[in-house]
């Protein structure tokens, strides 16, 4: 059985994600998969994504993965990364596409008119590089990571949760935007932990060991022993 399934729906490079998890949790079996049954049988699920969200939604559905993704997000430790975070929400400005609707809120583009720093210099989109991540709640996935640690980002859209209680972290570019959310067994981040050196590896190690037991969520099988 697969310990951690990395969902592959044909969008982008998942090797980095699986390699980084294997590096921090060599005892676990990590499988990159587009098979809904493997996702359903896995102990934990990583939901990455690169490129444009409309393409990601389409490719996910083309592989019949939607049900398995939704079920995994409700039932077991679930880590969304980049577009994998954005797809959890209701809808996105990118192509005006509907998301999975697992979390309330929308995905917006960095607005052109706001992209100026304190010195009046133009800020580039995509937001690319290392930015500080400020933690807004204690969470097992933040364990051992100082608030304000830098993670690697590359994105042009960001999530705007309708419920502020979902927000687990934010960054500034130039305004404050949500870069991490937490809800039950879901933790999802806009940045790339697999490319964020020590802080990112720690977050992945925390995920590999995480035993969520949120109210209303089914306790994952491996936590009941």
């Amino acid at each position: 059985m697969t310990d951690i399934a990395v969902i592959d729906y044909g969008m982008g490079n998942l090797r980095s994600v699986s390699k980084a998890i294997e590096h921090v949790a060599p005892q676990l079996r990590v499988t990159v998969t587009s098979d809904p049954e493997v996702v359903s049988g896995a102990g934990r699920v990583v939901f990455p994504g690169q490129g444009a969200m409309p393409d990601c939604m389409r490719e996910m559905d083309a592989r019949g993965l939607r049900k398995a993704v939704v079920a995994a997000a409700r039932e077991k430790p679930f880590l969304g990364i980049c577009i994998g975070l954005q797809m959890l929400f209701d809808n996105s400005e990118e192509g005006d596409v509907a998301g999975l609707g697992l979390l309330p809120g929308k995905v917006r583009r960095f607005p052109h008119e706001a992209m100026v720093d304190a010195r009046g210099e133009k800020l580039k989109v995509p937001h690319m590089g290392w930015n500080e991540v400020h933690q807004t709640m204690p969470h097992p996935l933040w364990e051992g990571i100082a608030s304000g640690s830098r993670f690697y980002f590359v994105h042009s859209y960001f999530v705007e949760p309708a419920n502020p209680q979902l927000i687990a972290g934010y960054s500034l570019y130039p305004f404050s935007f949500t870069c991490a959310v937490a809800s039950g067994s879901i933790f999802a981040v806009q940045f790339h932990p697999e490319k964020s050196q020590a802080a990112g590896l720690r977050l992945l190690a925390n995920f590999a060991a995480w035993q969520p037991a949120a109210a209303g969520m089914r306790v994952p099988a491996d936590a009941m022993r």
Binding site: A52, G129, Y173, S196
Partner: protein
């Protein structure tokens, strides 16, 4: 504090080895890409760029093994360039563990490649490398500052740069700024901008070129070509307004560590990841 400016060491590789002199203290086997990548990672490099300088097509696959080896141990973004001709080349490099692929000559020969690769894998992983050379007036490689407007007027024209390919040997007649705009429109996620006038001179970036690109484009611009000291890196950010600076020799020859460069830039008021 927000987004940090990036420092990117560049490694030339061929036949599975890093070439150009590399002189890390205490590192005997200086040519091993994994060892060198790890060292830069430990020093705080924000990304690494590998340039495959293999001339023939025979040895091309070796770069894949190199990237696989580095990607299994170094968890920062890796860019690979050199000899990328097709979407299939892009795919193979990404599968080997590259996070971004840099396209140079092939973009000029076939601009559609940039559009296709970006549509397939996302613009975040497509870097277009532009080798630009001044064509407006006699090249003055020693110049590190901007010419005054009056002086420029005396020369009769605004500065102009032309795109060169094949490692700077072949002129294309294409205006570099127009080319940059076109590449952005076709889906480039980032521009790696090298001044052919400055590359190898250690006289600093062509700041006017860098600033012209950065001011014109919405996507990030990496300044390259000419770094000889830490002030040059600072100038690339503050005067050239680059989003990232790429350098090879000042790190390879052990003059400065990446950390020293970052500490110096931080003292100059530049936001860096330390």
């Amino acid at each position: 504090m927000g987004l940090a400016k990036r420092i990117i060491p560049c490694l030339d590789v061929t036949a599975g080895r890093v070439v150009k002199g590399v002189n890390f203290v205490g590192l005997r086997d200086a040519g091993d890409p994994v060892e060198i990548a790890r060292r830069y990672d430990e020093q705080g490099a924000d990304e690494l760029t590998f340039l495959d300088i293999t001339a023939s097509s025979d040895g091309r696959d070796l770069i894949l093994h190199t990237i696989e080896g580095v990607a299994a141990q170094v968890f920062i973004p890796l860019t690979v360039g050199g000899g990328v001709r097709t979407v299939e080349d892009v795919r193979r490099l990404l599968n080997a563990g590259a996070d971004k692929v840099s396209i140079n000559t092939a973009a000029v020969q076939n601009p559609q490649l940039v559009a296709d690769a970006s549509a397939r894998y996302g613009s975040q992983c497509i870097v277009v490398a532009i080798d630009a050379k001044r064509v407006d007036r006699k090249t003055d490689a020693k110049r590190v500052d901007f010419p005054a407007d009056a002086e420029r007027a005396a020369h009769g024209a605004a500065p102009r740069w032309e795109v060169f390919t094949h490692g700077g040997r072949r002129a294309t007649g294409i205006d570099a700024l127009e080319w940059g705009r076109r590449m952005e429109a076709l889906g480039a996620g980032e521009i790696l901008l090298t001044s052919m006038d400055r590359d190898g001179t250690r006289n600093g970036f062509d700041l006017e070129l860098t600033r012209a690109f950065s001011g014109m484009l919405d996507i990030p611009v990496i300044a390259s070509g000419g770094v000889g000291n830490l002030d040059h890196m600072v100038d690339g950010i503050t005067k050239g307004r680059a989003d990232a600076v790429l350098a090879a020799s000042i790190f390879h020859y052990g003059e400065y560590t990446v950390r020293q460069a970052k500490e110096y830039m931080a003292r100059c008021g530049i936001e860096v990841r330390i």
